[in-house]
Every structure is written in structure tokens, then in C-alpha cells.
Symmetry: C2
Subunit: 181 residues, 2 copies
């Protein structure tokens, strides 16, 4: 079950490492980005993790919804990992505008393992078709939820945002989903 392993990999190889450092990174960022004080107040100090059920992931959130603007990156975290010295872990900060024009600053990204699920469903030799992909995304979501709820390192430091594909024709679907959280 591919999704099970990818959820564990996402937790053990990423969230468990970066979530404990997130609050400090945001504090350092706010110290050097005074202009964002008000919108952080409205925003979130958690890592917002987007999980679209169709695994259709964009590399640039601003391309998906023009109410979302890349603001800047959090400071880099460098960690020695498996022979790579100072491997860099970073997150991007986005300013999201709601329908009344209020700005919210938040740290948001897609769950990268969904790219693997998407690409595997396109490669015939991977043994995994488009029809199974949606099931695997939901299994990834449920498994990740269970793991994170048991994790002391990650508690209260993240929010999983499951994105249905019913309103994909709404140009502000993504910003609304983020603001709702």
C-alpha cells in the first residue's frame, strides 16, 4: 500500500524534523519582516498542508488563485542527513487575501508525496492506475492524520487541509479553503 509508506516517510523524514523548529523560524521571520505584523496576527503559526484528492499539485500557489501571493521564504534550516551536509529544509510564506480584502500571512505548501502518487499513476510500470489514485490519496490523508495525532513533536503545529475537486472552477477556491482554516 503505497500511500501508507509515503505517509510514514512524510512524517519520519520531514514533519518530525521541521515542525518542532517552525515556531522559532516564524519568530525570526517576523523580526525581519515588520510589515507583516498585522497579517500574521490574522494568519496562522501552523504549517498548512494542502491535500487535493485528485493529487493535482501545482508548484506555484500564486498560479492557482490570484488572491494568493508569495511573500518570502522562512529562514533556511540546515540539517546533516544521510551523508548530505547541511541539507536545506525551508518553507514559503504566502499572503492570502479573503473576499473582503483582508490579508492573512501563513506558511502553506502541498503535501509533496502526492506528486509521487500522481506520477506513479502515469507510469505504466509502477503498477498503479488513475482509478486507484483517489483511494490512495484518502489513505495517505487518514494515515497521516493518525500518525500526527500520536506525535508529541508535531502536536498543534500543523493543519491538514483536504481539498475536494468539486469547486475547481471557482478561481478563488484555494484562497477560500486556506482562509477557512
Amino acid at each position: 500500500n503505497v500511500a501508507h509508506g509515503l505517509a510514514w516517510s512524510f512524517y519520519l523524514g520531514y514533519l518530525k524534523l521541521v515542525l518542532p523548529r517552525l515556531e522559532d523560524s516564524i519568530a525570526a521571520f517576523r523580526a525581519t519582516h515588520q510589515a507583516s505584523a498585522q497579517s500574521w496576527g490574522r494568519g496562522s503559526k501552523k504549517l498548512l498542508i494542502l491535500i487535493p484528492v485528485n493529487a493535482n499539485i501545482s508548484h506555484k500557489l500564486g498560479d492557482e488563485d490570484n488572491n494568493i501571493h508569495f511573500y518570502d521564504n522562512l529562514p533556511n534550516n540546515e540539517i546533516d542527513r544521510a551523508g548530505v551536509r547541511g541539507r536545506v529544509y525551508k518553507h514559503s510564506v504566502y499572503r492570502v487575501v479573503d473576499e473582503d480584502g483582508k490579508a492573512y500571512d501563513c506558511v502553506v505548501e502541498y503535501a509533496t508525496p502526492l506528486l509521487t502518487l500522481y506520477n506513479m499513476s502515469q507510469e505504466s510500470s509502477a503498477g498503479f492506475g488513475e482509478s486507484e489514485r483517489r483511494q490512495q490519496v484518502l489513505l495517505f490523508y487518514r494515515t497521516l492524520q493518525d500518525i500526527l495525532e500520536q506525535s508529541l513533536e508535531c502536536r498543534n503545529r500543523y493543519k491538514l487541509i483536504l481539498l475536494n475537486d468539486e469547486h475547481v472552477d471557482d478561481p478563488h477556491f484555494l484562497s477560500k479553503a486556506i482562509v477557512r482554516h
Copy 2:
């Protein structure tokens, strides 16, 4: 089968992205590290990927074998990925000395997904025990071999080094294995 998904993830989310750029990164590195001209000649322009069957991965190769010295990192590759702007992909260059004292410069690292296999085998809720781990490492190795042999992007740009655990008491086991390749 966790190993199957991790091998595909390692290919689709990492090797397929970084191996096509490796030759250019090494050329840029050699231009700024003139002192390494001779040892690169003896060394390798491929990414050497270490796969220990016991999944026992160290974060610093120099700690494993004092004939291995961290030299420097290749230039960073920055790629926009799933909402993270300019996610950094980098590799470390090591100088490896053989038993006659000759130096070889090479780009070498452990296969990161083995850390996930190792950590999963330690977490009781992951449903995966120490006895299955070795089997999963070998399945990871075979699956990765098959995928890479079919890949045009990766052809001739990597070398998989399977490390048995019989000679772990030899302090120069790792450097000898690397030099052999």
C-alpha cells in the same frame, strides 16, 4: 509493499530531478576547486548511492571511516516544488583515500528512503518489524535498479552500491567499497 513505493518516490521525487543536472554541477564545482583536478580524474562523475542492507544509515560519512573526508558541497540546485519556492537540492563531495593513500573525489550519499524503513521498523504503530526490514531493503534495491535501468534521464549518471553487513568490523569497509566502484 513499502519498499516499492519508496523506490518510486526516490526516483520520481529526487533522482529524476537531480541526475540530469549532476554533470553541470560537477563542472561548476571543478572550476572553483582547482585543487581537486587530479582526484576527480580518479574519482567518479556519477552519483554514488549507498544502500546498506541493515538500513543502518549514518548522517556523516566521515564518522564511519576515517579514510573518508568531507570536501565541500556541490552548488545548490533550486527548484520550485509543490508550493515551496526554490527548494534546495544539493549533494556532498567526499575525498576517499584508498589503502595506498591515493585520493578519489566523488559525490556520494546514502539512499535517504532507507532512513524511513529503519525508523518505521522501530515504531510499533507502523506495522513493520525488524525482521522484515532486510527483505524490504533488498526489494527497494531491486525495484530501484529496474526503474533506473529504464530511465533515460538517469542512464549512466548513478551507481547503486549495496553494502553487506559482514565486514562492519573493518574500519575501512566503507572507503574500500566506494573505491571499488
